[in-house]
Symmetry: C2
Subunit: 162 residues, 2 copies
């Protein structure tokens, strides 16, 4: 997976930065009881190796969608098989264009999964009905409203558009 494996210090630094990327070298060095020069060198290396890809912000409650639903779409197999790829491309592109749609991925040749957000349950389901279920040539649309997140609950604060 990775050419030089990460050691405990690398992981400790990454854990701290995941919690708060604004920590200074001095603060990290203090918390981990390692010299500043070592911490500085390690972070530099982690960035160079692409282990740290970027620094970003997570948006909070006031700007996150309150309700989420996972949608699993299955597109109808066209008579001319070549059209399937094009159609998958069209549907995923259409979905990606909506700011309400936070995540879109193809699953195999005929399925698409999407994570959709809305201000409340009614608006979310209305959006799905009007903008997703109405897409032509879908064989099935399975809507899974998210009722409680147990792990990864900041996902919408990470994926939400501004």
């Amino acid at each position: 997976m990775i050419s030089t494996p990460l050691d405990d210090l690398d992981r400790a630094i990454l854990k701290l930065l995941k919690k708060d990327a604004r920590l200074t070298i001095a603060e990290i060095s203090n918390q981990l009881k390692k010299p500043e020069s070592t911490v500085h060198f390690r972070i530099k290396k982690l960035q160079e190796r692409g282990v740290i890809e970027k620094y970003t912000i997570i948006l909070g409650e006031p700007i996150r969608p309150r309700e989420l639903a996972l949608v699993v779409l299955e597109v109808d197999k066209p008579i001319i098989e070549d059209f399937l790829d094009r159609y998958m491309e069209y549907v995923t592109k259409t979905l990606s264009g909506f700011p309400e749609v936070l995540f879109v991925a193809k699953s195999g040749k005929e399925k698409i999964v999407a994570l959709v957000g809305g201000e409340d349950r009614d608006k979310l389901l209305k959006f799905i009905e009007e903008n997703i279920e109405s897409i032509p040539t879908l064989r099935s649309v399975q809507v899974l409203p998210i009722s409680e997140i147990k792990k990864g609950d900041e996902i919408s604060g990470f994926l939400a558009e501004v």
Copy 2:
């Protein structure tokens, strides 16, 4: 949704920080052609209001799972209905405990969705078979391997554990 709505400047600042949270006030002020004092004040307010929840890092390719699958579980309805909640609690907790499981959520009373990562397709499917499909009292397990992400492709770099 939000007491004081965000204006264009707030959104412009948030967009820049999403792309690179290490930008300095001076750099943001420069890019947006606004005084540093204004930018400083706006960021302070965005933090206070919880619009910016936190600063974090996104992990890069070398440390991300290469393959992802979405898993939709349906638990069997027990004869004593009260057990359903406890059972849902048990299954979501079990799933959350695995570092391979990046995201876990309940969907309604009987369903659970999870995003699972693995080094390659075989290891991922083996993990799901051995650790998820084997959980007792599941009525069904639907595995949707992710073949191509069209939107939100940094999701695994955000959710992956160190």
